[in-house]
Symmetry: C2
Subunit: 366 residues, 2 copies
C-alpha cells in the first residue's frame, strides 16, 4: 500500500486508526456474527452505537440538554431544503448571508422554496474579507439568519460567531465542526454533513434547540421533518447505519486525541505553518485577509496559472494528493481537516519550497 497524504476537500481522509478499526471488526461486530452493515437498526447493538455517538458529540461540543442531536440522511444539501421547509412559509422570511460557494448554494435552494433575503457580505478589494456586521442590515423580522462558518472553496471563514442580537442563527458547519470549541447556545440550529470531520458521506448531523421543534411546519416530507426525527430519535426510517457507526468511531478518536481544544490547537499550528510558507514565498498567493483566513481549507495560486497542473502532478509524485483547487476557481487548495497528520502539512510545505526553488526565479508574486 502506497502511503500518501490526502488534502481533498471532501469526502476527506479519515484517521488511520479509525479506518483500521472499521476493517478489523467489519466481518464480526463484537462477536455478533454480523457485520456492522447487517445490524438491525432497532436492535440493541445499533441503538448503542447511535446513543454512544450522540453522547460523544454532546460531550465533545458540550451540547446543552435543551438541544436535540439528530442524525439525518443526505448531507448539508438536504438541510438547505429542510430549513426553509420546516421554518418558513407565508408571512415568514429568513436572511441568508453570502460569503462564498456554499452559503450561496444554501440560499439558492431556500429561494426556490420560500421567501428569503440575500445579504452579500463578501468584499473583494486588496484582499478578500467578510463585511462587518453593521453593513449587513439584517431584516428585523427574519425567522432565522443563515450563514456558513467556513467556506471550503474560497477559504474564507468567520473568526467567531456573528452577533445577530436576539435573532435565531442557523449555521452550516460541515467543514468546521469539531475543529474548535463551540458555544452551542448561541445557535438555533447547527448542521454538518459528515464527510469531512465526522466520517463518510450520506449522513448529516443536526443540533437544534428543542423549543424550535414545536415551531416546524406541517406537511414536511417525513425524512425532512425535524420534529419527527427528534421524536423518533433519528429512526424515522432505516438510518444510514454504517455512516453513524463511522461517526461514532471518529468522535471516539477525537476524544482520544484530547477533544476539540486539542483539535483547535493542532488546526491553528498546522494552518499557520502553511500560511507562513505561502506568505514567505515569491510564488504562492492567498488573497484572504488575515482575520478571515480559513484554518481548514487553504487555497492558493501561482501567478503563472500554467504551473498549477505541474504543481499538482509533481505533488502527486511526492505522495501529496487532492491538491487541485475547486473547479470554479482553479488554483491549488489544501484541506486540513482533523484527520490530517502534522507530517502531511510539513511534507507539503517542504514540497512547496522545493517546487518554488525550481520555478521561483521567473514568476513574481503579484
Amino acid at each position: 500500500m502506497q502511503e500518501i497524504f490526502y488534502f481533498g476537500a471532501g469526502p476527506a481522509a479519515l484517521p488511520g486508526p479509525v479506518l483500521a478499526k472499521i476493517r478489523q471488526e467489519f466481518l464480526d461486530y463484537r462477536g455478533s456474527g454480523l457485520s456492522v452493515v447487517e445490524l438491525p437498526h432497532r436492535g440493541e447493538a445499533f441503538l448503542e452505537i447511535r446513543d454512544t455517538a450522540e453522547a460523544l458529540l454532546r460531550e465533545l461540543l458540550q451540547v446543552p440538554d435543551d438541544y436535540a442531536v439528530l442524525f439525518m440522511h443526505g448531507g448539508a444539501t438536504s438541510q438547505f431544503s429542510m430549513l426553509p421547509l420546516n421554518f418558513l412559509g407565508p408571512g415568514r422570511l429568513a436572511d441568508y448571508v453570502h460569503t462564498g460557494h456554499w452559503s450561496l448554494k444554501a440560499s439558492a435552494e431556500a429561494k426556490r422554496l420560500a421567501d428569503i433575503r440575500e445579504i452579500h457580505a463578501l468584499r473583494q478589494g486588496e484582499s478578500l474579507r467578510i463585511a462587518p456586521q453593521h453593513e449587513w442590515s439584517l431584516s428585523p423580522n427574519a425567522t432565522y439568519v443563515h450563514y456558513c462558518d467556513n467556506e471550503t472553496v474560497n477559504g474564507i471563514a468567520f473568526p467567531g460567531v456573528p452577533d445577530v442580537h436576539r435573532g435565531l442563527l442557523a449555521c452550516d458547519m460541515t467543514s468546521s465542526i469539531l475543529m474548535r470549541p463551540l458555544e452551542v447556545d448561541r445557535f438555533a440550529i447547527i448542521y454538518a454533513g459528515t464527510q469531512k470531520n465526522l466520517g463518510i458521506a450520506g449522513l448529516c448531523v443536526v443540533i437544534i434547540r428543542k423549543d424550535l421543534l414545536d415551531a416546524t411546519n406541517e406537511r414536511v416530507p417525513r425524512l425532512y421533518d425535524y420534529r419527527r426525527c427528534a421524536r423518533e430519535r433519528s429512526l424515522v426510517n432505516t438510518p444510514p447505519v454504517f455512516a453513524i457507526y463511522v461517526l461514532q468511531g471518529m468522535l471516539d478518536w477525537v476524544k482520544g486525541q484530547g477533544g476539540v481544544h486539542a483539535m483547535h490547537e493542532r488546526s491553528q499550528r498546522r494552518s499557520a505553518l502553511l500560511y507562513q510558507a505561502i506568505d514567505a514565498s515569491r510564488l504562492y498567493t492567498n488573497r484572504v485577509a488575515d482575520e478571515f483566513r480559513s484554518k481548514i481549507n487553504i487555497p492558493f495560486e501561482i501567478q503563472d496559472a500554467g504551473l498549477h497542473e505541474v504543481f499538482v502532478r509533481e505533488a502527486e509524485q511526492n505522495r501529496l494528493f487532492g491538491l487541485r483547487g475547486h473547479s470554479s476557481t482553479g488554483g491549488i487548495r489544501a484541506s486540513l481537516y482533523n484527520a490530517m497528520p502534522d507530517a502531511g502539512v510539513e511534507h507539503l510545505v517542504e514540497f512547496m519550497c522545493n517546487f518554488e526553488a525550481g520555478f521561483g526565479a521567473s514568476p513574481i508574486k503579484r
Copy 2:
C-alpha cells in the same frame, strides 16, 4: 467468529464474499492509497464505481434505454414523499393500493402531501389474499397507481405485475428487487431501498421512465428532484459513496451467481422448502393464500403464542438469528433474500422439526 444464519428483514445479511472483498480492499482502494470511503465523488475512481453499478443493474434487470437509473439518498421512505412531491399537485390524484404495512406507509405519507385515493386490496377470510383487480376500481384520471410488490410484514406478495391498463405504475420493490426477472417497461417508476437485496442502508435505487422527468413539479427539494438527479447523474450533492460501492459489489455477486433467473430459481426452491415444512407441521401456521405467499418474507405463528419467545431463543442457540416477527404482528418471520444460503433454510427447517418434536404434542394447529 461465530458462524450464523441471519433471517432479519432488513438491514439484511450480505453474501460472505461481498463482505470479504469490502474488507480486503478497505484500506487501499485499488492502489489509490485511499479507502473507498475517502474517494472524491467527482474523481475517476468513484465515477467508475457509479457507472459500473448502473451498467450492472441495467444488464441484470434488462432496463430499457428510455429509463433512467438514479442513486438517491435515504431509502424507500424518501420515495414515499418524493413521488407525490414530484408528480402530484393541484388537480392531480394518485391511487394507492393497500396490501400491508409498507403500502400503507407509502399512502400515509402521500396523503400528507397531496390528493390520493386509497384502495383497500387486502382480504382476510380463511386466508389472507389480495383482492382481484376488478374490485379495485382505479380512478380513471389517476396520475399514477402505487403498490408494494412484496409486503415484508404480513408476507403477502403480488404473483405478477398488476394490469392498470394505460395507467402509470409506481412500485416499491425494496424487498423483492433482483429476486426475479422484471419487465421494467410495464412500470413508470420502480424504487428500492438498498438495505435488503442491494447492499446497505442509506441509499435508494430508482428506475424511472425518462419522459416522465419532464413532468415533474418545480420547487421540489434539491435531493428529492428526479429531474435534477437524472441530469446530474446522481451527483446533486456528495452521494453515499460507500453504499453505492457496496451496491456495485452486490450486483457483481448476483451476476456471478447467474443473474436474476438463477436468483429466482433459488428463491422458489428455498421458499418452497420452508412453506412445505410449515404446511406439513402441526405447530406452525402461515395464513396467506398460496397464490399470494411471499417467497421472500415468510411469517408464521405458533398457536400457543407463548412459544414464540422460546422458539426465537432456541433458534439463536442453534445459530439462527433475526427470526422474531415484526413488532406489529409478533410471531416468527424468516426473510430469505438473495444472500441467504440454501444451507440456512435447510438448517432452519431442521430446527423447526426438532422444535416441533419437543412441543408438537400439546398445541394443535388451528
